[in-house]
């Protein structure tokens, strides 16, 4: 973990945003130190994109304060925007331009030019491994290549804070690994990173500190170890099953040894004290309430368990 030095790169407090009468972000605040990788982990619709849109000056918050390296950020803070490199959740590249042209264009908007721009474009093309295809229009790229370029544009001007909004969504496992590797490397090189995701494995792997967001609120924050301590010495028990999963989860939740129970797809996720001891009883209850259990996994507590514990719902939809 990187030790914070001096002024934080990002400091925000009490930020709120409503769309009509729907409150998307309800008073979120956190800070990121130099060289730190901070993860915002939360399910779909938690308010992650809305939060970082305010941090990167795309949206005006209804309330609250955002400072980057001490400078306030609003949609009109052109100077402060230089500090941020944004990698939007949805691809934001021109399909009818090639990778070099995309990078050069956004580089110029950042005030780069001449030999410095050329050098940096070549460097970024190496980092995102697109040097061979740099002259092809991006509409001819695979999904993973487009994602990599999307990230490359955010890196180009060496921002003080790189913001990545779910950069691995819809990416094949190989490209996903490449993306995670490069984010890891950037963090090691000392760039501060704000990373949003709803994959807890990504948050666990990349982030020095993690904020868990749900329904527009930051419900917990800390290192992975800090967060897992919320759950205590519990196990996470995952039953892959068919049948009436919701009914089974509800029934299991009533058992005194089960702290929390939730459903995620074809899985029932339970937080259980000493799972191995209680397994027979749990399986019997599952059968009785109409679920056919196909496999059972026991893990020590992780962020998934933390989310379940805090919200009573599973992280994945």
């Amino acid at each position: 973990m990187t030790v914070a030095s001096g002024e934080p790169v990002l400091e925000c407090s009490g930020i709120r945003k409503s769309f009509g009468d729907h409150a998307a972000v309800k008073g979120v605040g956190f800070s990121i130190a130099h060289g730190e990788t901070y993860g915002l982990l939360g399910p779909n619709g938690a308010g992650k994109t809305t939060t970082i849109s305010m941090i990167s000056g795309l949206l005006e918050p209804d309330a609250g304060e955002i400072r980057l390296a001490g400078e306030p950020m609003t949609p009109d803070s052109t100077h402060t925007k230089r500090l941020v490199g944004l990698v939007p959740q949805d691809l934001a590249i021109y399909p009818d331009l090639d990778a070099t042209e995309n990078l050069e264009f956004f580089g110029r908007l950042q005030g780069m030019k001449g030999a410095e721009l050329d050098r940096r474009v070549a460097e970024v093309l190496e980092i995102i491994e697109l040097t061979d295809r740099a002259g092809d229009r991006t509409e001819q790229y695979s999904g993973g290549m487009k994602r990599r370029l999307n990230i490359g544009v955010g890196l180009l001007h060496r921002p003080t804070l790189l913001i990545l909004d779910e950069p691995t969504v819809g990416v094949d496992p190989q490209s996903r690994n490449a993306i995670l590797d490069s984010v890891e490397r950037l963090g090691e090189e000392g760039m501060a990173v704000l990373y949003t995701t709803h994959y807890m494995e990504e948050a666990e792997r990349l982030c020095d500190r993690i904020g868990i967001v749900d329904q527009g609120e930051l419900i917990a924050e800390g290192t992975q170890a800090d967060l897992v301590r919320i759950v205590g010495q519990r196990d996470r028990l995952t039953l892959t099953a068919t049948g009436s999963l919701a009914a089974t989860a509800a029934a299991l939740g009533e058992l005194e040894v089960v702290d929390d129970a939730g459903v995620a797809g074809d899985e029932i996720v339970l937080i259980v004290d000493q799972a191995h001891d209680h397994l027979p009883r749990i399986l019997e209850m599952a059968a009785r309430t109409g679920s056919m259990v196909k496999s059972v996994d026991v893990d020590s507590a992780d962020l998934e368990s933390v989310f379940l514990k805090l919200t009573g719902r599973a992280l994945r939809e």
């Binding site: 849109s53 990167s56 000056g57 795309l58 949206l59 949609p75 009109d76 052109t78 100077h79 925007k81 230089r82 941020v84 944004l86 939007p88 949805d90 691809l91 934001a92 590249i93 021109y94 399909p95 009818d96 331009l97 042209e101 264009f105 956004f106 110029r108 908007l109 950042q110 005030g111 544009v153």
Partner: protein, 398 residues
Amino acid sequence: MGAAWTIARKDLKQRLRDRSAYIIGIVAPLGLALVFGFVLNPLSGFEFEGRYAVVDLDRGPVSQIFIENVLGAAERIEVIEVGTVAEAEALVDTEVSPLGGTEGTETADAAIIFPAGFSADVQSERPVAIQVIGNQGSETEAGIAVAMVEGYASELTSVRVAVATVENLVGAEVDRLATGVAVLQTPNPVTVLDDTASTKQLDGVTFYAAGMAIFFLFFTVQSGITGLLEEQRAGTMARLLSSPISRTSVLGGKMLSAFLVGLVSMAVLFVATTFAVDADWGPPLGVALLVLAAIVAAIGIVSIIAGFARSGEQATAIGSMIGMVLGFLGGTFFDVSQAGGLLASLRFVSPHGWFMQGLADLRSDDLTVVVVPVLAMLGFGVITGAIGVSRLRKGLRP
């Protein structure tokens, strides 16, 4: 300014790679202007003679206008009216050579077929189709038949849109057929062609060259400005807005590129029609002033539409409709200045009308005559543009 220029340059690069930009900006207006020019101007050096078989199953006013006023106006087109589709097909079918081939069998370059009920369908806004069958041996002549029919079809569309708009404006039903026919029967420029320069009226060739150019200019500019909404759809607006540049630069960049693309397409059309069909736009300086003012007007009008539209599709749909109405009212298809009455005065609600009027006034070779049309178009542009830009600037979002 630097950022606006960077954005404009990027847009121009994209437009250069976009085939539809060439079609709207150059191919369509030039094609239509050339076709009309070749057909109407025997001096163009283009040896054109066409024989068209026409089947009028409609026998209604709308088909008659085409046959008499459009086909009938072109000196070098011979019209053979036949009664049935089969007869027409036989005339254009050179493949079938009857056994014992009769020498001198009559042939036609193309057959144009108006289906029964065509005029009624036009009136009731049902979809209509005019069929053209080309003779494989006369591609050019058949192509010109297709172009003339297409030109007429777009006139019909713009008349329909205009009549519907007028109805909405006055809140009353208008006798559509009567109005449409009255409009379509306004003298075609070629029929009132007068070579004496003092009549302050454009000759047919120039009329179509300028009319098509200004009509399509609106659409060229439109696709530049709606590029803003395109950036939103592509997600790149988020990047533009998170870059250290002002919102004004983002808007300014789009307007600058729309302006330059409009200017290039007008310049190409001016040069091409001048040399290919002897269009006579008038003294270049006067024309240049009119063109610049027309581009400003188009940018303003398109900006206000984009400013109030909820999506790119909506902006394009409304913009196209307004472009058609203004083009029609402004007399880019028909010389409405010759129509008299309300129609002749209404053209001044459209910058297209001022543009055409400015060109007609330039016949007198006195440059000061463009002052009023130029100011009128700039007025349109500045007023609509100011409202549009303030809306767009506030509304810019990722």
